[in-house]
Amino acid sequence: MQSWLGRLALSLVLASAPYLQAAGKEIVIGVAGPHTGANAPFGLQLWKGAELAAQQINEAGGVDGRKLRLVKADDACVPAQAKSVANKLVNTDAVNAVIGHFCSSSTIPAASVYRESDVLMITPASTNPRVTEDENYKTKDCSALTDAKKKESCELGNYSPIMRMCGRDDQQGVEAAEFIATKLKAKRIAVIHDKDTYGQGLADAMRAHLKTIGLEPVLYEGLTRGEKDFNALVTKIKATKADAVYFGGLHSEAGPLLKQMREQGLKSAFISGDGIVSNDFVSAAGGEQFVSGVYMTFGADPRKFPEGKKVVETFRKTGYEPEGYTLYSYAAVQAIVAAIKGSGDDRDGHKLSKWLVENGVNTVMGQAKWNPKGDLLKSGYVMYVWDQKGKYAEVGQL
């Protein structure tokens, strides 16, 4: 980041250099996400994770001797760009598989491109249910087919090339709702979201599950992304006497919201999802004193697995804290590589998907298994709590 002028010069040179591409030799993986724009921090997480994974795999000899090459693709979380970026990855860069995208609103239109082109896409971060549940691509019934070949191709078609390395909003919402109702024993719950696909998805899932256990949120409202003043909303929450506040959204809004709650003397529990998993949450909230005691759902701690622990340490050595989706992205690369090694095919998304569904992969995030729709069988969501030092740990392991 420091000497970006130098990098500008370098990229000018690279761009003007002729394309030298040893076709078939390399395995090309697209890393699609918001590398510019307001969500760029998350694009960086995806890139960092994939970068280290590719580097380590290449250092270990690549995939049966073939090197991995990553292609950065910027959708800026703009849906219109997402589709053209996806087309570029598929057609111009001829990728073998894609990691991304980040924003569900971009992932959904991009996924249709990958589906049409049978390219495997693993999103490390898009938790919206619609990513894997596309109305246009429902599971087909192949049992009636008699022709063996047709039947095989039909069955193969039911393995979706669109997969996730993360959970779904509904799973996450359920986990959090259970926690709030049983562990915190909260009765008056305010549900706040950021009106974005991800945040509102979480909030909706939360509200739906609360209903099934007989609770109705005392408040269900959205705030505007990009704003910093939520005092009016906080006062409103205070007036409802909520004993727990659930927030569906990202740390950039969660921080100020939390700070303003505490400043207005509102001491209710604060629970959120994996959108706040970033050290920036602490600075966004104005200091460790504010985040202390905040709960959040997130995937199981990779440091529990020896491999994960090693990767985290490697990241830290380079001066980068592998926060948020970094390791998910790392794991996605591992999955792709495992599938290519295992299935013997390097391009057909359905075959790769079938292999992944049938075999599962050991990743830095632990054992990952999928259903044919592409969702992880075990969401692995765990409740974490932040401490006074601005770090988080699983609940009950403090």
Binding site: M1, W4, L223, T224, G226, E263, S278, S283
Partner: protein, 305 residues
């Protein structure tokens, strides 16, 4: 309706409105003098947020411990640098376009705001940044259970906003520079004939507008504690709305528009629905402009035949 809740919402609205007003001043001054919507103004505010964090960390590194000294020095530092930004942007991107088609500077300004956003993102990274809380505590009204409060930082915002607005008004009203500004605003050619260096006056206006955005940027950043390279956009649009609401070109109008917008947002999201608060804010703007086509304190447009 709970009295304390209402009181709290009024405080919220007032603080928010004061910040809108401070940014709106920059829009209104530039518009008043050269009739141009300076779309890059929101980015100046964003720059000052970064300068705040840089100022605070550098000053604490140098050993300044007192929060008040930190705030005051950071304010001066941010105001100085952003003023220079204002002047340089005007010189490079707007002045050559003066006198040409009315929309050219507008597009140039959009270009400038893209440049500033990305330059900051590339230099400082895309991450959400923060500043430590410098001043804690609040004034509380009411008892332990029922109260409304105003934090000391919010008091600082309102006081500083008030003082800067007052100061700016005095400058425009009573100093030579202010008179020259008004002269250029009314008739640039005539002012030039009378020996006023219009280019310098316009540069000064850009500097003052940018400095006010810096005041807003520093105070808001210290209050909310968090910012990224994208904060200029929403604040910019809101402040612009406030400026038009109050009557673009009018200094008191900008402050009034800001406070009204802030109160409208707070009260609407507090008592009706925060999802639709922006719809309400823009609806209010449209309604006011239908009945007062030149804003609350703007001079009515006389149709000259």
């Amino acid at each position: 309706m709970d009295f304390y809740v209402l009181g709290q919402q009024l405080v919220n609205g007032l603080v928010l409105g004061a910040t809108y007003g401070l940014v709106a001043v920059g829009y209104t001054m530039v518009y008043g003098i050269i009739g141009m919507i300076n779309f890059a103004h929101g980015e100046i505010y964003m720059l000052s947020a970064y300068l705040t964090a840089i100022g605070v960390s550098v000053l604490s590194y140098w050993g300044f411990g007192s929060p008040w000294a930190l705030i005051a020095l950071t304010l001066l530092f941010a105001m100085a640098i952003t003023s220079l930004y204002g002047v340089v942007i005007e010189r490079l991107a707007y002045r050559p376009l003066r006198g040409s088609n009315r929309l050219a500077p507008l597009i140039s300004a959009i270009g400038v705001s893209l440049i500033l956003q990305n330059y900051v993102q590339l230099s400082q990274g895309a991450r959400n940044q923060g500043v430590p809380t410098l001043i804690d505590g609040a004034l509380r009204f009411g008892d332990q259970e029922h109260f409304f409060q105003i934090t000391y930082m919010q008091v600082v915002i309102i006081v500083v906003a008030f003082i800067s607005m007052l100061g700016l008004n005095l400058i425009v009203r009573y100093t030579t520079l202010g008179r020259a500004c008004r002269a250029v605003q009314q008739d640039r050619e005539m002012a030039q004939i009378l020996g006023i260096h219009a280019d310098r006056i316009i540069a000064a206006v850009f500097a003052m507008g940018a400095a006010m955005a810096a005041v807003a940027g520093v105070l808001i950043t210290l209050n909310y504690g968090s910012f990224d390279f994208f904060v200029g956009f929403i604040t910019g649009i809101k402040a612009f709305t406030a400026a038009v609401l109050g009557g673009i070109g009018s200094l008191p109008g900008a402050m009034l528009g800001g406070v009204l917008l802030g109160l409208a947002e707070s009260l609407f999201s507090g008592f009706v629905n925060s999802d639709y608060k922006d719809v309400f804010a823009f609806g209010l703007l449209v309604a006011i402009l239908i009945f007062r086509p030149s804003g609350l304190l703007g001079k009515p447009i006389v149709e000259k035949v």
